[in-house]
Amino acid sequence: MTEGRASGTPNENVSMRHHLEEIVSRGRQKLRAWAAKEALRAAFSRLFLVSLGVPCLALAGNLVGFVAPPLWPFGDVATVVIALAAPFLVVAAIALALFLREKVDRRVCLALYDQVLGFKGRLQAADEFMARESQSAFQQAAIEDAVPYARQALAAQLPALRTSPLPLHGGRWPLALLSVAILALAVLIGGVAPEVGASPLVVPGEPLARLSAADEDSVEEEAEPPRPKSASRRTLRDRRPASLGESGPKDDTRERGSRSDTGTGDSRSSSASENAAASLARQAGRAAAGASGEGTAQMSEPRERSDKPNRENESNPQETKEQRPETSKGVAGGSGRSTGSRTSTSDQPAADDKARNDEAEGDSTDDAEDEEDEEQKGASTQRPVLNQRKAAVDRSLSPSGISDQENPDANGRGGRGGLKKTRGVAAMLLGVPMPDHLRGKSNPGRVKVQRERADPDPKTAVPDDATGRGSRSKPIGYLPHPTLEPWMRETIRSYFLAERRADDASQSQSTPSTTN
C-alpha cells in the first residue's frame, strides 16, 4: 500500500476543490438565511417580555411623580406609541445581534449537504483529506469517491431548512396582557401624578413668599375641568362640607363661641398672604407656648396645605364666597387646636396659654384660622388621625414605678398596669407578670442504698444423662436454595418500587410548601 502520495491528478484535485468551494458557498448562503430566521424567531420569543419594559418604566416614572418631579417626560399618547414601537425595535436589535454572532463554518456547510442528501459524510471527509499535505491510499480513494457526490450536490437543490414556528403559544399571552394592564395603569397615573408632583407646594423648603403669580396661574390652569385630577380634587372639595357638617357642627359653634367673642366678619377680605403669615405666626406662638411636640408636628402639615386654597380663593372669589358659609359651619370639629388641648393633662397650662394668645391676636387672624381649620378638617376626612386622640405612651426610663394600677395612657402598649413601660433593653422584658415556678410534686427524697456482705450459698443440681439422637428414618426433604426464589425477588422489587413511589409522592407534596 502506498502512503503519503498526493491524491489523483492535479486537474482532478483542482476540479474537486472548485466543487467543494461552490458547495460551501451555496451552503453558507442557505445557512445564513436559516440563521437569520432562527435569530428572528429567538428574538421574537422575547417580544412579550420586552413589551413589559416601557409600561414598567412609565409606571415607575409616574409613581415617582407623587413625591418628586415626575421622571417620565412623555404624555399619554407618546407613552402608548413608545410602548408599542419599542418592543419591536428591541426585538429587531436582538435578532440582529444573534444573527451577527452566528458564524457559519465551512464544515457545517458541507455537513449540511451530506446530511440532507444522505452522502454519509463523503464531502466532509474529502474536504478534510484534501487539506492535508499527504494522503493515504484510503484517503485518496475517499477523495475520488466523493467527486461524483460533489457533482450531485452542485446539481441538487436543497430543500428549505425547517425553522421553528414563532413562539406564540398561550403561555406568553399573559405577559402581553400584563404589559397592557401596566401601560393602562401608567397612563392613568400619568394623568394624575404629574400635577401633584409638579406642584411647587410639595417641594420641601419652598418658601411661601416665592410663589409668583405665574405659578399660581399655572396651578389654576391645571385645575381646569378637563383634567381628571382637577375633577377629582374639586369633587373632594365639594364633598368636604357635607362630611364636616355631619361630623361636628355643634363643636364648631362651641369652639367659635368660646374662642372669639369679639367676632369679626370683615377681615375675611384680607389678602391670602396675610392669612398665611398670620397662620404661621399663630403656629409659632403655639409652639412657643409649649404645646406638645406631637401636636406641633401635626400642625405643620396643614400649614403647607393652607396655601393652595388661599390662592384659589384669590383667583376665584365668586366660588369662594359661595362656599364660605358652608365651610364656616363645619370647620371646628377635630381641629389641631382642640387636639392640642387634649394631648395630656400635663399640657393643660400650655393649652390655656395658647388660647389666650389666640384671643390676643384679634380679629385679623380669625378668618385665617377659619381657613386653616377648613383645611385641617379636610385633611381629617381624608385620613384618620387616631394618634391625635391618644395620649403619648409613658416612656419613663425607670421601671421603679411598678404598680398594678392601670395606666390610662398606656395606649395598648406595655401591657396592663405600669410595669416596664420603658425603652431600651428594659422594654424587651416581659411586661406581664408570670409565676417564676411551677407547682408540682416534691421529689421522694434521697434514695438510700445499703449493701450487706453475704456468703454465696451453693445449691446442688440433679444430673441429666445424655441420650442419643437416633438415626434418621426418612429423607430430610426439600432444602431451599440459599438464593432467593423468583417470587421473593419480585416481592422485594415491588416493595422498593412502592417505597420509591411513596418518596416521590411525599416529595411532590412537600415541594409547594417549601416554596411558600
Partner: protein, 336 residues
C-alpha cells in the same frame, strides 16, 4: 496502479471474502443475519464477541460453522462451575519418557487456538473466567514461568444464557469490557423455522467449505485498520462514549440516573474499528458518523453498568444507549 486503486482493490477483496464467509455460515445458520454480520464484523475488526440468547437459538452452531468456514484452529470450552484456570490455559503434567522415566511436560489448554468458543461462559467461576483476561487482551497465556503467545487471528466467541441465572456467575466488568460486541440472539421468524426444519430433520447433511484462512483474515484486518477516519467521525465516537459515563457533561439524564459505570476508552476503539468495517461494507473508504451510529448498540450495551434504580425500573442498557444516540449529535450537524 495508483494508491487509490490499490485501496479500492483491497476494499473489494474485503467485501468478497466477507460475503463468502457469510454465505458459508448461512448454509448452516438460518436467519440471524444481524448476528452473523456482527460476528464477522468483530472477527474482521480483531475483537471478541459475546453472544447472549436463550438455549436453542444456534449460538454454538453459529460459531462452529464460522470456524469451519474460515479454516481456523477451533477449540470449544464448555464452562462448568468446577472448571479451573488450568483446565483452559494448560498445565504441567507428568508423562512417561521414551526411555522409561517420567518427565514434566506442558499440556496446552483449549485456550490456545485461533477461534475459541467459550460456551456458557457465565457458568464458570470468576476465577476461571479471569483466565481469559490475558488471552483476550494481550493475546498470550502465562502459565507458571511459561508465556505462550497466541497466534493471530485470535478470536473468543462466548455465549451465555440470560435466563436460568441460578448457579451462574455474571461476567465481571473487566471481562465484559474486553468483548468488542455483545450480540443478542433472538428467536427466528416464522419463515425461518421452515428452513431450520428442512436442514435439520432431513437426511441431507450440510457441508461447509472453508473459504478463507488465517493469513487472509489477518490481511483483511489490516485493510480494516487502513480505512480513513475523518475528524468528525472520531469526535462523534468520543462524544458517544463520554455520554455513557454517568455524571458527565454530555450524558443524558437517564444515563446519570440509571448507570453506575460508563464505557471505557475501549469503547471508542471498538466504535471506530467496527465503524471501519461498516464503511468498507458500504463501499466507502472513510468511516462516517452513520457507521459509528450503526455499531453503537452492540459496542456500548455491555459497557454500561446499570445501578439498582435501573434494575428496579426495568431500564435496560439498550435503552440508555438509545438515549445517548438521541442526545449526541455528530459535529457540525445542522439541526434542520
Amino acid at each position: 496502479m495508483s494508491s487509490a486503486d490499490e485501496a479500492r482493490a483491497r476494499a473489494d477483496e474485503f467485501k468478497t471474502v466477507f460475503a463468502k464467509v457469510k454465505t458459508e455460515v448461512a448454509k448452516m445458520v438460518v436467519g440471524q443475519e444481524q448476528v452473523v454480520d456482527g460476528v464477522l464484523t468483530a472477527m474482521m475488526a480483531g475483537g471478541h464477541v459475546l453472544l447472549e440468547g436463550v438455549p436453542g437459538l444456534g449460538k454454538t452452531l453459529l460459531v462452529r460453522s464460522l470456524s469451519q468456514a474460515v479454516s481456523l484452529q477451533f477449540s470449544r470450552i464448555q464452562f462448568t462451575p468446577d472448571m479451573m484456570p488450568a483446565d483452559i490455559q494448560g498445565t504441567m503434567v507428568l508423562t512417561e519418557a521414551e526411555g522409561g522415566g517420567h518427565q514434566l511436560t506442558f499440556q496446552q489448554g483449549p485456550l490456545i487456538a485461533n477461534l475459541i468458543l467459550a460456551d456458557e461462559i457465565n457458568r464458570a467461576t470468576p476465577k476461571t473466567q479471569s483466565a481469559l483476561l490475558e488471552a483476550m487482551q494481550e493475546k498470550q497465556v502465562t502459565v507458571g514461568r511459561r508465556t505462550i503467545h497466541l497466534e493471530e487471528p485470535y478470536c473468543v466467541m462466548a455465549t451465555q444464557n440470560p435466563v436460568e441465572q441460578e448457579g451462574t456467575y455474571p461476567l465481571p466488568e473487566a471481562q465484559l469490557d474486553r468483548f468488542l460486541f455483545k450480540l443478542i440472539v433472538g428467536y427466528p421468524a416464522e419463515s425461518e423455522y421452515h428452513a431450520i426444519l428442512d436442514r435439520t430433520t432431513g437426511v441431507g447433511d450440510v457441508d461447509i467449505q472453508p473459504v478463507t484462512d488465517g493469513e487472509e483474515i489477518n490481511n483483511l484486518r489490516t485493510t480494516v485498520r487502513s480505512v480513513a477516519e475523518p475528524e468528525a467521525a472520531r469526535a462523534f465516537a468520543i462524544r458517544l462514549v463520554m455520554a455513557t459515563q454517568p455524571g458527565g457533561d454530555s450524558a443524558p439524564a437517564s444515563v446519570s440516573e440509571c448507570a453506575s459505570l460508563g464505557s471505557s476508552p475501549r469503547g471508542v476503539q471498538g466504535l471506530i474499528l467496527a465503524g471501519k468495517v461498516q464503511a468498507l461494507l458500504d463501499d466507502r473508504f472513510a468511516v462516517s458518523a452513520d457507521d459509528i451510529r450503526a455499531v453503537a448498540l452492540p459496542v456500548l450495551r455491555h459497557r454500561i453498568l446499570l445501578n439498582f434504580r435501573a434494575q428496579a425500573n426495568n431500564v435496560s442498557s439498550d435503552e440508555l444507549v438509545e438515549d445517548v444516540l438521541k442526545t449526541v449529535t455528530p459535529p457540525h450537524a445542522v439541526a434542520a
